[in-house]
Amino acid sequence: MGFSNKELLRADWQWVGLQNYVTLFKDEHFLSALGNTFVFVVGTVPITTILALGMALLVNRKFRGRGIFRAGYFFPSITSMVVIALIFQELYRRDGYVAMLATMIGLTPPEYGFLIDKSTALYSIMAMDIWMSVGYYMLIFLAGLKSIPDELYEAARMQGASFFHQLRYITIPILRPVALFIIVINSIKSFQVFVEIYVMTGGKSDTMSMVYFVYENGVTKAFQFGYASAAAIILFAIIGVFSIMQFSILKRREPIW
């Protein structure tokens, strides 16, 4: 469909070759969606992964009440988007708590709130995304940590390995398949970011993402199904290339760190 001029509500259509792609790369809305999506992926994936690993290590060891902490940390990823959106919109208002915090540490918060200012809106949504997804990846890391036999740690401890040594030589190598999963999945999900933006800004204030662009142009606003499909194919290709890169880097035998 990406090579046709199919419109959602019309039966007749023709092949138009690469025409859609030429138009796309001249369409400033598409280019800004492309840029925003990249910023989103590059900004959220590494931070989420590292935070999730850290949190998993924190609550992996035995201590009193760890069940509560686990459940609590996981909680944001099962909270309804409606609730999260409401709370964060309040937090990001110009007289909200985030603005107060920014003032306290000597920054000037944006005049009309974080979600309206073009220079902060996207980053605000990214921060929210990290907050809401970190618990899920923590849980997967936790499951992964359980596949490490305790004997390995005991042996290491007996040889006097420090915490960081254990992390470097036992935990991380064994977690590699799980980490690969987390990074690939999180990247794919982030490339496909839609709902967060839909509820927070509706694509306004320079926060349009690729999937938002596709959905809006194909289904909700305009019915340019062929054109939207072309944009979807580009997104698909980008995700494909990215995933292959991640696979080949993380599959290498020798540690990269």
Binding site: I78, T79, A143, P177, V178, A228
Partner: protein
């Protein structure tokens, strides 16, 4: 001794600080769900309000009659979760333990499906379900069939199986156990942590999904909870108190499921199970 206590104290302070940041919405949501809907506008400081009522819940159950919706959601989510545990595990086991050209190709295609944004699939899916080829629009099948195997589930379980040591399977094979026996009695128990994660993930995704059930069904008796709530409480001008009551009802089953399953994740591999 003093440093030990200090360290423990610091640790709990840190853990609790993170907990507070993560749990704030839950507390707020539950507080607002019990606020009278005529108590003025809801803000973050509503957390400290003093009034209390059950009227939002009565509204949803009586006017909104979401009892049926709850049943539908639970039924669909349980079937889908069971299906995913079974199918994802089966596929993932083969993909992880029998690497050859075909399984690699299959895995590749799983990843390809994963890369297609779900929102784009709604157009072809809708057309398929209303066509004569597969006329399941507006039936339970429409809510269940498309989701029986999540590609993300196959990927998750496969990566996990790959991180398991093969020693136990080999030992069982030497002992003459059949392949089915190895799968059911050796691999599956080892996979409990990841299957628990999968179950939570699938159950939650399905339980909360709004767009697809809303578009793929129309009848009132097929409404799931989110669809019902979007009719009865989540309309834009509906009081926030109703929305939060709905969200509270929606989150309880997932939270219970998590508390039950998290022990599975905790227990994991018993130390004696791996005899190198």
């Amino acid at each position: 001794m003093v440093t030990y206590w200090l360290k423990t104290l610091l640790k709990y302070v840190g853990l609790t600080a993170i907990l507070a940041v993560m749990l704030f919405p839950l507390v707020w949501m539950i507080r607002v769900a019990f606020l009278p809907s005529s108590s003025g506008s809801v803000t973050l400081t509503s957390l400290f309000a003093s009034s209390f009522t059950f009227e939002n819940f009565t509204y949803l159950f009586v006017t909104g009659s979401i009892g049926r919706d709850l049943f539908n959601s639970a039924f669909v989510a349980i079937v889908v979760t069971a299906g995913n545990i079974l199918f994802c595990f089966m596929v993932a086991y083969v993909l992880a333990r029998q690497p050859n050209v075909w399984t690699k190709l299959l895995f590749g295609s799983v990843l390809v499906v994963l890369m297609i944004p779900a929102h784009i699939l709604i157009v072809p899916l809708y057309s398929l379900m209303t066509s004569d080829m597969m006329p399941i629009h507006d039936t339970y099948y429409a809510l269940i069939l498309p989701w029986l195997v999540y590609p993300i589930g196959i990927f998750l379980v496969k990566q996990y199986i790959e991180s398991l040591p093969t020693s136990m399977e080999e030992a069982a094979r030497i002992d003459g156990a059949s392949e089915l026996r190895i799968i059911c009695q050796v691999v599956m128990p080892l996979c409990k942590p990841v299957l628990a994660v999968l179950a939570i993930q699938v159950f939650f995704t399905n339980w909360n999904s709004l767009l697809f059930p809303l578009i793929l069904t129309s009848s009132e008796h097929l409404r799931t909870l989110p669809v019902g709530l979007s009719h009865y409480g989540s309309d834009e001008w509906a009081p926030l108190q109703h929305k939060m009551a709905g969200a509270t009802i929606a989150v309880i089953p997932v939270l219970i499921l998590f508390i039950i399953l998290q022990r599975r994740i905790v227990s994991g591999i018993t130390a004696g199970a791996v005899k190198q």
